[in-house]
């Protein structure tokens, strides 16, 4: 394999893995902050226990998210040095600001939160978790500013053969960012929420600590339904922006070879043949593509063949069609997973409204448990669609992926790093799941330490009574 392919494998695998944990951190931080706020306002110890129990999962997850994030910052230079030279002027700034503004905030206040339970006042402690939540959100803002530039470059001028920033405000008010940020952030909040409802549903099914988990479930379900409906709305806005700025990605995600005609029909499924550029066995819903693209039931959407011809005129000869099947199916996986989240969330709302959460339907709780997998599936598929659909560009219209790699790094070196990083990531994944299961099994009333009184560190049993 050549260095481009290996570098892509390295970036894709490490980024997908990293992004299992990022949304969980963002979402759980918010939920824990809400729970601790309720504790400080109402003084009810149950909420404190909630913040601590979910906090344990948060910290395990956060650790893996942070360490896998370190590589993210370095591999632009390691594997994509020509890219870094070309856009560093624009792309480096948001990354540096992310570190300065978000990473310091998160890391300092997470230390305060973990070790500060009996060292600072309740309010300062509460402030700490809100600062962590703020930090994770700011982090999302700045990394998405950088990503949005790759999707839709703005605020720069070409100078001496590289992109140089000339309008910082344009960079942080990039139309792409304005649709990508709410979609991504809300998806992250939904991820945290569905993790909490899923685990709570499991514990309620097992009839363990039912009141505790019912309350957790209810808090998270509210956050879950608000955010998953919001994700859909924001996603719709994003699709419309896509038609304007990256029509090829839109066409590929619809498997649309020829122009759709007016009004355009939405393809539900199809067998796509990218070699002969035809589809077979299509199932279509009339009008829907026009609505998705323009919010009205008319309007034609350009197909890949038309766009290919346009791009060749604009950028010279080459293949500008991304891997169609991957783009097409990842989009559908995302949409289906997102829709299921909305359905589950709505039903949970219905149960809560009718006060039926006391004796919830077993089947529904099983669905809610497996529902915790929906957000990660949707997140991953969504990012695959976004990044694969952008190919062959790293920066749309400016620089191709092929031109972005480090010319001085050997394939062997990259292969070595692909293998070692993936191996260590696999171990981390297994350990994390194992620890999650362990914490969940133990439950909130069996914390293995307390934060109030002194005790003999050799005695592990001496601590479990603290909360019971």
């Amino acid at each position: 394999m050549d260095t481009v392919m290996l570098s892509r494998i390295q970036f894709a695998s490490t980024t997908i893995f990293h992004y299992f944990f990022v949304p969980v951190s963002i979402g759980l931080a918010l939920l824990i902050a809400i729970m601790e706020t309720m504790y400080v306002r109402k003084g009810n110890e149950e909420y404190k226990r909630m913040a601590q129990f979910w906090g344990k999962l948060f910290l395990i997850n956060f650790a893996v998210g942070v360490v896998t994030g370190i590589l993210q910052e370095f591999q632009f230079g390691m594997n994509w040095s020509d890219y870094s030279r070309f856009v560093g002027d624009v792309f480096g700034a948001p990354l540096a600001i992310e570190a300065l503004l978000a990473f310091f905030l998160e890391s300092t206040f997470i230390g305060l939160w973990i070790f500060g339970w009996d060292k600072v006042s309740k309010k300062i402690h509460l402030l700490a978790i809100w600062m962590v939540a703020l930090g994770t959100t700011l982090s999302a803002f700045w990394i998405l500013t950088a990503n949005s530039f790759m999707q839709h470059p703005v605020g720069f001028a070409m100078n001496n053969g590289r992109a140089e920033m000339n309008d910082f405000l344009a960079l942080i008010t990039n139309g792409q960012l304005l649709v990508e940020l709410p979609h991504t952030l809300l998806a992250a909040y939904a991820t945290g929420a569905f993790l909490v409802t899923g685990i709570s549903a499991y514990k309620m099914l097992k009839k363990q600590d039912v009141p505790f988990f019912r309350r957790s479930f209810e808090i998270a379900a509210i956050v879950g339904i608000v955010s998953s409906v919001g994700v859909a709305v924001a996603g719709h806005a994003q699709a419309q922006y896509l038609v304007e700025t990256q029509p090829m990605k839109m066409a590929a995600s619809e498997g649309l070879w020829e122009d759709s005609g007016d009004p355009g029909a939405w393809t539900v499924t199809a067998f796509i043949d990218p070699v002969n550029k035809v589809n077979s066995g299509e199932i279509k819903i009339p009008y829907l593509l026009s609505f998705l693209s323009y919010s009205e039931f008319s309007g034609s959407v350009k197909g890949m063949n038309t766009l290919q011809a346009e791009y060749e005129q604009q950028y010279g000869p080459g293949n500008y069609i991304p891997p169609v099947r991957t783009t097409f199916w990842s989009f559908r996986i995302m949409v289906v997973a997102g829709s299921l989240m909305v359905v589950l969330g709505l039903y949970a709302m219905y149960l809560m409204w009718r006060k039926k959460m006391e004796r919830p339907n077993t089947w529904f709780m099983r669905f809610m448990f497996w529902g915790l997998l929906l957000p990660p599936i949707a997140n991953t598929a969504g990012w695959i669609m976004t990044e694969i659909g952008r190919q062959p560009w790293t920066v749309f219209g400016l620089m191709t992926t092929e031109d972005s790699v480090s010319p001085n790094v050997s394939a062997g070196s990259i292969l070595f790093s692909v293998i070692t990083f993936n191996a260590i990531y696999a171990i981390l994944g297994i350990v994390l799941i194992g620890l999650f299961v362990k914490v969940i099994k133990k439950g909130p009333y069996h914390m293995d330490h307390d934060h109030g009184e002194s005790h003999d560190p050799y005695s592990k049993e001496g601590t479990t009574h603290a909360f019971s």
């Binding site: 910290l59 395990i60 956060f62 650790a63 942070v66 360490v67 370190i70 590589l71 910052e73 370095f74 591999q75 632009f76 230079g77 390691m78 040095s81 870094s84 856009v87 560093g88 002027d89 480096g92 990354l95 540096a96 992310e98 570190a99 300065l100 503004l101 990473f103 310091f104 905030l105 300092t108 997470i110 230390g111 305060l112 070790f115 060292k119 140089e164 920033m165 000339n166 910082f168 480090s406 010319p407 001085n408 790094v409 070196s413 990259i414 070595f416 790093s417 990083f421 260590i424 981390l428 350990v431 362990k438 914490v439 330490h449 307390d450 002194s454 005790h455 560190p457 050799y458 592990k460």
Partner: protein
């Protein structure tokens, strides 16, 4: 008046000095878990003593790299692609170390703890070693061609000079970490930490001296800025002697400050020796990367300057505040997180 390019060179130097000063001691404490600690409780005391800080300390490195990317994209690109394999190892070590702190206390099994303890040790030893190797080869010069691409072989990176630099910084981190331990622990552990630090002063002196002499003969930095570097060396010797003196009279805070000063002066010397270059080509000095040809445009630097200068006071403020909150010593009788 500093130009923006000069200012960003200074800021990056400050970030790396901050990183080595701060993470230096938590790397040292990480190494102590195998060298100084006698049992699991002592290990937990040591880890707890850096618990609230190490993560933020590491962000100094991330911010330094981010600032390099933003202000000197060519420096960032040449550096990280050129040192590909050393960075793979440094990152693997940092990854293992970071999760080890979180994971080690989560199961009651000896094999489990030993595994993560090994990660903490190697994760605390390898990164400072490798980063020092990288910084030393900065001033020694590297095969960088006219396209700013670095094609370095194994011995361009790993050689007598860089290995001495690596060992020097590792030893410095260890002594610095031991002094931190004297500040945050009590009783026997504290006494042993101070004693070990005193014992290590002599080998540290030998390494530092070897590094200075090799730098004199193997690099051009003394030709470039001999007078200034001599001042730094003299200050370094003074700080080193004072650290030994303060250890002997048990003024641990002052001794910690002095070991940190030796560290800061060492890193500062590298940056002073480099300036205005950021990477030195061993092929042709015309191929050197400098604060001019490696930099971002003026507009970008200006924006970054405004952002950095307005955020920095807050960042420093809450970091100092967090050290203040956790200024009390860690006691083995209290609840230990790990």
């Amino acid at each position: 008046m500093l130009s923006l390019n000069e200012l960003w060179f200074v800021l990056i130097a400050v970030l790396f000095i901050g990183f080595f000063f701060l993470e230096g001691f938590d790397f040292g404490v990480g190494m102590e878990t195998q060298i100084l600690a006698k049992n699991d409780t002592e290990r937990r005391v040591l880890i707890n003593s850096i618990g609230p800080f190490w993560d933020a300390n590491e962000v100094w490195l991330l911010t330094g790299a981010g600032a390099m990317f933003a202000a000197f994209p060519n420096w960032y690109a040449t550096l990280f692609s050129g040192f590909y394999i050393p960075f793979v190892f440094a990152l693997l070590a940092l990854i293992a170390r970071g999760v080890a702190f979180e994971f080690r206390g989560k199961r009651d099994s000896l094999a489990w703890k030993r595994t993560w303890d090994a990660c903490i040790f190697f994760g605390s030893f390898l990164p400072p070693f490798l980063l020092a190797v990288v910084f030393a080869s900065f001033i020694k010069g590297l095969p960088i061609d006219g396209d700013m691409q670095m094609y370095a072989g194994f011995f361009d990176i790993v050689n007598g000079y860089t290995v001495v630099a690596g060992l020097t910084v590792v030893m410095l981190c260890l002594v610095h970490g031991l002094m931190f331990t004297t500040l945050r622990t009590v009783g026997d552990l504290q006494v042993r930490a101070r004693k070990l630090a005193q014992k290590l002063l002599l080998p540290l002196a030998a390494l530092l001296l070897a590094f200075v002499i090799m730098t004199y003969f193997m690099t051009d930095v003394f030709e470039q800025r001999g007078a200034l570097l001599m001042v730094l060396v003299v200050l370094g010797i003074a700080a080193y002697v004072l650290s030994g003196y303060f250890m002997s009279i048990k003024k641990d805070g002052w001794a910690f400050g002095m070991t940190g000063a030796v560290m800061a002066l060492s890193v500062l010397s590298v940056f002073v020796g480099l300036f205005p270059r950021v990477m030195i080509s061993s092929i042709d000095s015309a191929f050197n990367l400098t604060i001019t040809n490696a930099a971002s445009g003026h507009y970008s630097l200006k924006v970054m300057t405004i952002v950095a200068l307005s955020l920095l006071p807050f960042v420093l403020g809450y970091q100092i505040w967090s050290y203040f909150i956790f200024h009390k010593r860690v006691h083995e009788k209290e609840h230990l997180e790990y």
